[in-house]
Symmetry: C2
Subunit: 355 residues, 2 copies
Amino acid sequence: MEYKIALLSGDGIGPEVAKQAVNVLESVGKAFGHTFTFEEGLVGAIAIDKTGNPLPDETIKICLRGDAVLFGAIGDPKYDTNPDAKVRPEQGLLKLRKSLGLYTNVRPVKAYPTLLDKSPLKRNRIEGADMLIYRELTGGIYFGEKHLSEDGKQASDLCSYSEEEISRIARMAFEAAKLRRKKVTLVDKANVLETSRLWRRVVTKIAKEEYPQIELDFLFVDNAAMQMILDPRQFDVILTENMFGDIISDEASVIGGSIGLLASASVGDEHGLFEPIHGSYPQAKGKNIANPIASILSAALLLDYLGLNEEGNAVREAVDIALANGVVTSDLDEHSTYGTKAVGDYISVLIQSAE
Amino acid sequence: MEYKIALLSGDGIGPEVAKQAVNVLESVGKAFGHTFTFEEGLVGAIAIDKTGNPLPDETIKICLRGDAVLFGAIGDPKYDTNPDAKVRPEQGLLKLRKSLGLYTNVRPVKAYPTLLDKSPLKRNRIEGADMLIYRELTGGIYFGEKHLSEDGKQASDLCSYSEEEISRIARMAFEAAKLRRKKVTLVDKANVLETSRLWRRVVTKIAKEEYPQIELDFLFVDNAAMQMILDPRQFDVILTENMFGDIISDEASVIGGSIGLLASASVGDEHGLFEPIHGSYPQAKGKNIANPIASILSAALLLDYLGLNEEGNAVREAVDIALANGVVTSDLDEHSTYGTKAVGDYISVLIQSAE
Ligand SMILES: [Mg+2]
Ligand SMILES: [Mg+2]
């Protein structure tokens, strides 16, 4: 098959790590008989520098006509530290998510055997943990009506959800659970919030009527924040609303021991965007020291999204082997001499030789 | 001095652990020359059984005329597992907080040297952690207007705060920081929420004008959920709104290794209520195995509240010694033969002999 990928490398280490993800996709193409073509678009600080706009219209067009978007990272200190900056690199990503209708964020969290010593949690708590977090991305209190009284002494934020917003992400989470350990945990606060009670009703109905083979359980968000530390292995697929997902997925991101391994997908009904969760890390730019694995794993999520699950698994297996063999950048092993490119090359070669 | 304490022991292990807290207060009385008198009130399941009401008016009166409320625990499986129960034990506590105007919840979290091996976090992360969490208890989204559309397909919850609600708890947190490491961390989501921006403005103004000696810093709640695991030692006093406080304080509760040691205070302008954070643990009732330390430490918070800081510290020091010497119940050491009463007696004797 032939696939057209929109490549938005962005700022800082974005281009370096995205380049390794591109290499990996090209290796997958050779090994499995697909063709990936890449069309590059500007986004972030580099787009502001060149066009004045963190998300030029041309970039949106490139994304809309691609089969998927591979995203690097954005952000530059010259905008971040300037409180008067009128346009900010991050606005590019927010606007892009909106333009593409990306309402679900997916974050895999996995404890890699060779990295257990890097986790802040004890080995016996984390060994074997492997979860997917489905976070609603365009609703809830972050996007609700805001109000500040004229005298500035009273403020409010509205959290609201509709059945439609809940059911579309819920089905995605149940579909993912089908391919895994067949368990979905809904995180909410249904003992106090009306929106949480709506989530519980809608999700329970979908589970009963459409996914009887999937186990559905419920956790209040405060308890979930505890359980994530006490026993992260209990989770298979977590499903939750926007703000709870923000908190729980960031909490989960540190238990595996390295943020340099974490990828994410933002998907909607017609488009999908795949990126590492780490930032643009400008201090490391151009030094060939950035860890490319999160970007490479985001390419694996992109393959899953295209329906190429076998191919996605091949990428993940190659990453597992690189980690097991210590072919990693110095953030994971201070004695390592492998650079960004060497790690990417090793994984690419593994994928081609596996077939 | 003479102090009148309202004693609400409640259900399950509540009476057993509260009894040890009473013993400890009586020892403090002897050692420091105070008199504590206790007036008992019904609350929870036992109050429903005897009066039909989880919080009888007589109990409220007892609390209102006391100098402070010492609370045990509430909850009974015969109500918890019955979805048709019209009155529930927990309603007693919620109503009591409201009746007494308790708008601030305080939770100390400390890593005890002898319990580091019980923590899910690695020793080097947690050693020396010692924080106080100030959570706003009567405002925010838990108490805001709720709405469900007639067709049941759309729901909302309103989060709102006023300057007054923020400033009264902020001053309490700054006062606490004065007696500690002089640092307050405000946890919010000011990059997205209007209410969080109001919190930031109000707290910043109070810090500048009234507490120039206190360092104030800010963390977004998602980052705070990460930092609590990565580096809990960075926190001295955490100040936050109701829901963020619920999540962050429950997350923090598991890092010390035992929920059986955690006490909490709920305070307002005129009243204070002090309780362990653990529940009524009905399975352990009457077996002399419940850990009384959380209840004893809640008595220490009660002493602080009465302005008896030296006395509160004496209780905490005695608890430290009991833990260091292994005088603990079997939840903390499976080989221990000390029961609830033996641990309470040991701590009481220490307090009297220290003077
Ligand atoms: Mg976040
Ligand atoms: Mg809670």
